[in-house]
């Protein structure tokens, strides 16, 4: 899966228009990154990347790139 495809999956999870996110996007600047948005990312991580994402790990994410790095680790 390419980086762009991962970005698109995150956009879909957060209900954002396609190609609105970059790796540099700061999560705190996104109103869509709320509790339901975070829950969607937990499900995405589990189903598409087979990785359990905890609340503690999410707290450490600063940018969209951090999420992608977690998916790729």
């Amino acid at each position: 899966m390419t980086k762009q495809e991962k970005l698109n999956l995150i956009e879909e999870s957060l209900e954002l228009d396609e190609n609105t996110l970059t790796e540099e996007t700061v999560l705190d600047d996104l109103v869509e990154y709320d509790s339901m948005g975070k829950l969607s990312l937990i499900v995405l991580s589990d189903e598409d990347f087979d990785k359990k994402l905890t609340g503690e790990q999410m707290d450490e994410f600063k940018t969209v790139g951090d999420i992608i790095k977690f998916f790729e680790a």
């Binding site: 209900e15 509790s35 339901m36 975070k38 829950l39 969607s40 937990i42 499900v43 994402l53 905890t54 609340g55 503690e56 999410m58 707290d59």
Partner: protein, 248 residues
């Protein structure tokens, strides 16, 4: 209030017995001399039950995700043992927003938490398989009554269980069978710890309303034993709140 005279030597089936609440109920019943049939969904968790309870009690593994196979798994044990009580502690959690509630996911949650429970009831209440006064107890949740964001599938599955108990308390009254639900608030279990780990908020908002704090599995077990015993013989079709004040 002593439950011992009522439940000693009684045959009690516990499904989902390897859950923390199930295990606590099993320990309490074991301590007062009930005879148990303990179910777990996986062979691994069944093995843990066998190690802890296998000397005195029967253990059975059967997958609640496959309701059509339950009949074969339980047939032998249910035709050779007349039940006095059945308690269901199976309950798989689901946390996802509506947009991710795809039919396969919702069906899976409904199947494990509700369809298989109903299938167990069909088997357990067949003529000749129970003694007079059979008491059936389902572990339910405050989610079924108050709901919350992201728990639609779980809450609906538990509400379905409660509705079934209400209907069947009327339908099976003639057979002298009682059915009740325990509406649990947050209980200090491994499933709860897992749930909290997945959240970003450190404080559990539910506990602001559940003003008596987190329940221990034994708090739920005490109520389960009361509902299984003859002490509760005038209670059927009810949802008993064990919510630490949450729904008040």
């Amino acid at each position: 209030m002593s439950m011992e005279p009522q439940l000693k030597n009684k045959n009690i089936l516990i499904t989902g017995a390897s859950s923390d609440i199930g295990k606590s109920i099993a320990s309490e019943l074991d301590a007062i001399g009930a005879r148990l049939i303990l179910h777990a969904s996986g062979t691994k968790s069944a093995a843990v039950l066998t190690e802890r309870f296998g000397q005195q009690h029967q253990v059975i593994a059967a997958d609640f995700a496959k309701p059509a196979e339950l009949s074969d798994s339980f047939k032998e044990i249910l035709t050779s043992t007349k039940l006095d009580g059945y308690i269901n502690c199976v309950g798989v959690r689901s946390r996802r927003p509506l947009k991710l509630l795809k039919p396969e996911h919702t069906s899976e949650i409904m199947t494990i938490n509700f369809v298989s429970y109903l299938e167990m009831l069909r088997m357990v209440t067949k003529r000749g398989r129970f003694n007079e006064g059979l008491s059936i107890v389902a572990i339910s949740s405050i989610a079924a009554q108050s709901g919350g964001p992201g728990v639609t599938a779980y809450a609906a599955s538990k509400a379905a269980v409660d509705a079934a108990n209400r209907c069947l308390s009327k339908e099976l009254h003639g057979k002298k069978i009682r059915l009740n639900s325990i509406i649990c608030g947050q209980v200090d279990t491994s499933a709860y710890k897992e749930l909290m780990a997945s959240k970003t908020e450190k404080e559990d908002k539910v506990l602001e309303r559940q003003f008596m704090g987190l329940a221990q599995p034994k708090d739920i077990a005490d109520i389960a034993l009361f509902l299984l015993s003859e002490k509760s013989k005038f209670i059927t079709g009810s949802c008993m709140y064990a919510d630490g004040g949450y729904l008040t």
